[in-house]
Symmetry: C2
Subunit: 578 residues, 2 copies
Amino acid sequence: MYRPATADQLLALEVCAGIGELARSERFAAADAEMVTAIVEGIGAFSAGEWAPLNRIGDLEGARLENGVVRLPEGFAEAYAHYVDQGWNAIAAPAEWGGQGLPFALGCNVLENLGSANFAFNLLPMLTTGAIDALEQHGSEAQRALYLPKMISGEWSGTMNLTEPQAGSDLGALRSAATPIESGDHAGKYRISGTKIFITWGDHELAENIVHLVLARLPDSPEGSRGISLFVVPKYLVNADGSVGPRNDLRCVSVEHKLGIHASPTCVMSYGDNGECIGELVGAPNRGLMAMFTMMNNARINVGNQGVQIGERATQAALAYARDRIQSVRAGSPDRKPVAIIEHPDVRRMLVRMKALTEGARALLYYTAGQVDRGTLGDTEAAARGECLVPMLKAWGTDIGVEVASLGVQVHGGMGFIEETGAAQHYRDARIAPIYEGTNGIQAADLVTRKLGLEDGASLDALLGDISRDAGEETGLVRLAEECRSIADWMRGEATLDDRLAGSVPFTTMCAVAVAGWQLLRQRRAIEQGTSPSLAASKQVSVRYFLDHIVSETMGLAAGARGGSTLLYELSNEALCA
Amino acid sequence: MYRPATADQLLALEVCAGIGELARSERFAAADAEMVTAIVEGIGAFSAGEWAPLNRIGDLEGARLENGVVRLPEGFAEAYAHYVDQGWNAIAAPAEWGGQGLPFALGCNVLENLGSANFAFNLLPMLTTGAIDALEQHGSEAQRALYLPKMISGEWSGTMNLTEPQAGSDLGALRSAATPIESGDHAGKYRISGTKIFITWGDHELAENIVHLVLARLPDSPEGSRGISLFVVPKYLVNADGSVGPRNDLRCVSVEHKLGIHASPTCVMSYGDNGECIGELVGAPNRGLMAMFTMMNNARINVGNQGVQIGERATQAALAYARDRIQSVRAGSPDRKPVAIIEHPDVRRMLVRMKALTEGARALLYYTAGQVDRGTLGDTEAAARGECLVPMLKAWGTDIGVEVASLGVQVHGGMGFIEETGAAQHYRDARIAPIYEGTNGIQAADLVTRKLGLEDGASLDALLGDISRDAGEETGLVRLAEECRSIADWMRGEATLDDRLAGSVPFTTMCAVAVAGWQLLRQRRAIEQGTSPSLAASKQVSVRYFLDHIVSETMGLAAGARGGSTLLYELSNEALCA
């Protein structure tokens, strides 16, 4: 039985996001302790009660394209309607358009709970959130007024249409086109045409309308990434009064067969098959990629969050199984009675490890979210720190999601490999997160190129310096943070760009573990000062495990981080493939 | 397009298994260089040509129970018949019963090629091999004469029936029963009754008969593992002349829905529903578990082999994709032309890592197999070393199988998550190997209990000592081997049993990496002396990567290996689950 991780979430919100401090600002004044507790408990109960029971049927039946309509299994429509009715979609959305205007960190908590309950279903609000961000930041006043209220309520959902078959990580290669409409009803708008792939929740019947944000090229636009514009292309055209009008010329032509997240329709979308797909330009021409980047930070945090989500769910399932499953006498025990497998040292090691990794990723998640919120309040240093943290959270958070889900399978033994048990679904679902929203390799590249040099390197350096200074007695953690600094120095100095990229993934893991370990340490100290006594005993164990085991292991990555690129290119492509 | 890894297999057979030296013995004299090459090339071509094309359909359609009959997809029956006709099943089987009597290491090569081509299908011959071993070592002369020739040819297949719902890792808990038959046609035999689960290839129509080896209890047998006997229970009773007689009272009642290996029917088997299931005792009463243990070493090697198999297949798929997929300009390149992703440093890092891990596991596989063959020739020291190596190979080999398959998904990016691409199937298939034939936790427990103390500790110590001495200039490898020795000393000394078990999995990985690194080093030296010039350049790179990166990372596990168990038990079960 899945239960929301309310106590640990509240601790992370308090200590790592610093929600109390945020609530002292005018903007976030509503986020007082009572409100925070009400939200965390409320969304936890809602998710566990209404969305979690749909997780398995979502996996089994999945989303299906039937006669041009994308169908979800029984129960999804109702569960989404309840989510909208109860106002959960609006928590962190701007108050100006009907949102609650609460901190981003609380929005993360909503998604964490939804995603732990139902990983695939959570992608629906998650994508809508991204589309809201993009429209809020780049849409005209009219566009915002037309779209945001219904998207914020959740009555309408949103999507991001970036990828094309030849344009994945390299969006500059995209070919979808937008042609200005000179006259008629839609004068000033654009005819959109092209095919987009990997469109998450690209079509479905759960929302009244779907607001597609589509990257496309204007006629005579420059080649590559400087010639891409952003368009809003609703499934149903929207009348001036905000009501839903006629169907737009776009459709889902196929739903992918995927390893996991079966309940999330991953669509191939076709725009303008009949030459009548109408879209509006969002922001300035040829600035579409810029618009995407401004919302990408938060979107990547939301994906890193998914590692926490699946980690929590998989850990709970493994704990429950290990406590019930009786097998074998405890080694060395004079008592010949078989025990629950939770008693066996190696099973216990796996469980403690799962807990420590999940709590570490959660600590990093809320620390990152808190920096974003500080940035919103005008703290530019926090904003820059947040930008450094994003690739760490996205990459490491999703990596540990996969590791924890895999450990979950292992704890279940043979039963873990049987689909009915559920552990296998977590293992399959978790695997998408290191891939989408920029592969973890892209995240690591972001860290060792853009983020490494942010504020002339001061941002990352200050973060690592804070850890070194603050970790004090935890010498392993201090050593890790110092090693990260030293590698960062080397990367900024003698290392070539190839060297940096070759070491980028291990370096990203090292930095992420350093920050997560630090935030866990801060949680432990807070508990020692009386916060969250309910977690006191268990947090001691997970923090100790993290600092002694995870941090030590991670030090072993240093050779890879500073190993350089020469070896990788010693062989020709042909020889490597021979 | 999958191609067998013939050159690297021949190198590993020569350098790590020492097949040339084995061929100097009378027993293995037939295994001369020409024969070895013929077998490795032959089974490679057969597997790639006939079994590999069935890998995807096997996954898609899987094995199905239809009206009491287990059906495999189109093509499997024919491909199995060809395998039997060409004599591949008999390579390493005893000459006395129609086998070729060649070294076990060559039998491993047959399975490696079959399993790389079709991971799930390979379980059919793999299980038959285990049943042959058990009957050969423990069956009566009459039983061997009746069953072995047809099992060795492959006309009949074999299964192992150990697990029951309440008896997984703890076989002592099993309840299936065997009642002596006092009179009538079957006097002297036994009536078998009980339900067995997780029976790999438990039923199918590819072989004329299926020889089930079943663990069950005799009346009044002692409780626990000392009261278990082994029985041979054929699907069709066998007439005295060896022809197939009437159907025995046993059946497959269900086929599991699994994460992977869909083409391998994992059966729930019911014995004696009508009280007429006839079996014969194999070996002495109450010695069934002992009989299992004697064949288990080889069975575990065969599972460790599966890590190599999936690693090879996933690596080839990733290399092919990375070479074809054009995406993004090479970072820092003045040329604005997008390149194949194999050019990007982090993709290249993943590919080199996949190659290094797979080749390292292969080196460990054939080194282990060679020790087993030396044991067969009467070298007791090699036999004991082989026993130390088995848990390392089984655990680490299958762990890297999962890691490499996961990296394979990552190299494919979004396409890796789409089932049609095939990378996802490898990721799903690979996940079973750390679980069955003794979970990797059980392997690690075996290493830190039984194997650690073998010959008073001299076996493991000599192995690690050989590495330290021989690795010479490779100081990282020497340090790792020395660290393993020091941990082994601690485990034999002040560490409690719980401490040993708590550190068992990281310790097992450390030992495995030390041995694999050493064997790779020996391969490199052999190449420098002129062996296998075709691999000269690429082996330099994979060995260097393994020694610099994998070995360094693995040193990071030392803290976990010697961390003790106290922390794991600080919380009560209730607190851990809270």
